[in-house]
């Protein structure tokens, strides 16, 4: 199974890199992106709802966790979970009304929501410190397992494996969801909403479930991000990249598979770091834009896809 292979590679990457902190941190970024991408793809590839604003859930998760931990003296582990819940709630706020909208309009509504979330975070300074950001967010507290102490403050590698664990958890969540009746319902909705409704599927329910799970997972990665980089500002937490990159990663890796987005994330982060940044110091992200445009025109199935059917509704105009 491709998924197992990729996750296996992920697990041994730090060994390959000789635990070099710089390289490991690059791949931690890839893992964070991968987790979000897999979650994004649950909604997009699994249920047919493309979201242009997943940064909203990421940022909400990050900020919720950071605020609870810095102001509420809560443990970061709990904070991350709480962040996930906040993200999920946020998704319902925009999702339920937005599900009435057709494809492109839904995508743009979520985009609007992401911008609103960013602006609100920027302005609610009493809670979020606004543009100054939240500094010195505590890292994950050290874990003591038997005689072994896993410290997350100094070591990059331990953070790497936490990220990897989160990604695996997300992957398994998505996997079991797709295999369940709910997953079938989502596929039906993806194929043709009207027909799905016609055969008695609760379309809104399926979409909502996909969205909530997708948002929860994304927000959890956001929470991890908060305790990993330990600094948040509205611009970094809600950065457009968190909305765009999952799309590029998923599209490139293959939206028809579960592990495609993770693979896509690994490849594009790798290429970005090691190739694009060498040539285009400042504008290296142009590579992503070009990749997005090129893939969707010439190879919509991505790396892993075997069928070319990419369009969300599956209909030729």
């Amino acid at each position: 199974m491709a998924g197992a292979v990729v996750m296996g590679v992920v697990l041994i990457i730090p060994f390959i890199l000789s635990f070099n902190p710089y390289y490991v941190s690059i791949f931690i970024s890839a893992l964070i992106l991968g987790g979000v991408s897999i979650a994004w793809n649950l909604l997009a590839g699994g249920c047919g709802q493309v979201s242009f604003g997943h940064a909203a859930f990421f940022g909400i998760g990050a900020y919720a966790s950071a605020i609870l931990v810095t102001k509420g003296a809560c443990s970061p582990y709990l904070g991350i979970v709480a962040g996930g819940i906040c993200g999920a709630l946020g998704s319902l706020i925009i999702g339920l009304p937005a599900f009435r909208l057709r494809g492109p309009y839904f995508a743009l509504a979520i985009l609007g929501f992401a911008e609103v979330a960013k602006l609100l975070t920027l302005n609610m300074t009493w809670l979020t410190e606004g543009s100054a950001g939240i500094l010195n967010i505590p890292p994950l507290p050290a874990l003591h397992l038997g005689g072994l102490t896993l410290d997350f403050h100094i070591s990059r590698t331990t953070n790497y494996y936490v990220a990897a664990a989160l990604v695996m958890a997300i992957y398994l969540t998505v996997y079991f969801m797709k295999r369940s009746n709910l997953g079938l319902a989502m596929s039906a909705v993806h194929g043709d909403e009207e027909t799905a409704a016609g055969i008695g599927i609760n379309v809104v329910g399926a979409k909502a479930f996909a969205l909530v799970v997708s948002a929860f997972c994304t927000a959890v990665m956001g929470g991890f991000y908060a305790h990993y980089v330990r600094f948040l500002s509205p611009d970094t937490a809600f950065e457009g990249s968190w909305s765009v990159m999952p799309i590029v990663a998923s599209l490139f890796g293959g939206m028809r598979t579960l592990i495609g987005p993770m693979l896509g994330a690994l490849v594009i982060i790798g290429v970005d770091e090691f190739v694009a940044k060498q040539f285009f110091e400042m504008g290296h992200k142009l590579f992503f834009g070009l990749l997005l445009a090129t893939v969707i025109v010439w190879a919509p199935a991505g790396l892993m896809g075997d069928r070319v059917r990419m369009s969300v509704k599956g209909r030729k105009r």
């Binding site: 493309v50 602006l119 302005n123 834009g289 997005l292 445009a293 025109v297 030729k316």
Partner: protein, 276 residues
Amino acid sequence: MAEGTNYGLYCLGLAFVFGIMRIINLAHGEFLVLGGYVAYWLLVKFGLNPLLAIPVAAGAAGATAFLSYRVFLQRIRTSSELNTLILTFGLGIFLTNLFLQLWTADIRSIGVDWMERPLTVSGIYFSLGEVIAISISLATVLGLHWFLKRTRTGMAIRVTAIDRDSAALAGINVERVDLIAFSVGGLLAGVGGPLLGMLAHISPGAGVAITVKAFILTVLAGVGSIPGLLVAGIILGVGEAMTVTFVSASYRELFGFLLFLLILLVRPSGLFGRRV
């Protein structure tokens, strides 16, 4: 209010392309900013008066649009709207970062002294710059109107928008019409660029905000109504100004977004549009 008419101009290209071709061009803002950078560069390198640079800027933007369409968009026209959306999204990101690379993240202003000169029109102070901008906006709208109603190409575009198959039967080269229409959209965007640079400032990231505002206006005004755009632009401009005055300056952008979400959910066909 003056800002409002400018908004109308900035979004003209997007509304045009969307209304005619049902393509949501998320790179629209970037075409506009490209026009701005071209005008900036011409001013800095050759001392060219920005107003004279407008046609050049528009041309550059139009050419970029032409290329984008020819190389990318044309091939996925038959696919879903969403794919086209993602494509233009990608192009926009490409352009934004290209600007970043070529012109750095510094904010550029096309500063010309005579823009600041005050004029009084029935007791209200304007700057000469604002008056010129409004004039150009109106001129562009009128120009577009004339183009669509009086020239053969314009009429071909309109017919194709109404019914592609009949247009094709009547002998109109539909693919070429699409190409021209999209390029015109880019051209329209390019006109706004130098103006933006003169009135405010341009930076690589400015495109996104413009595109979003333009889309808000398009949805607000409704598909197919160009005068509606100007009205919508004024509504947005006034609304923002009031938000700044009564609430707080930092909530200014929020007004637009909330309005956007509200319209999408409540009345997707917009204030003046044909039913979507």
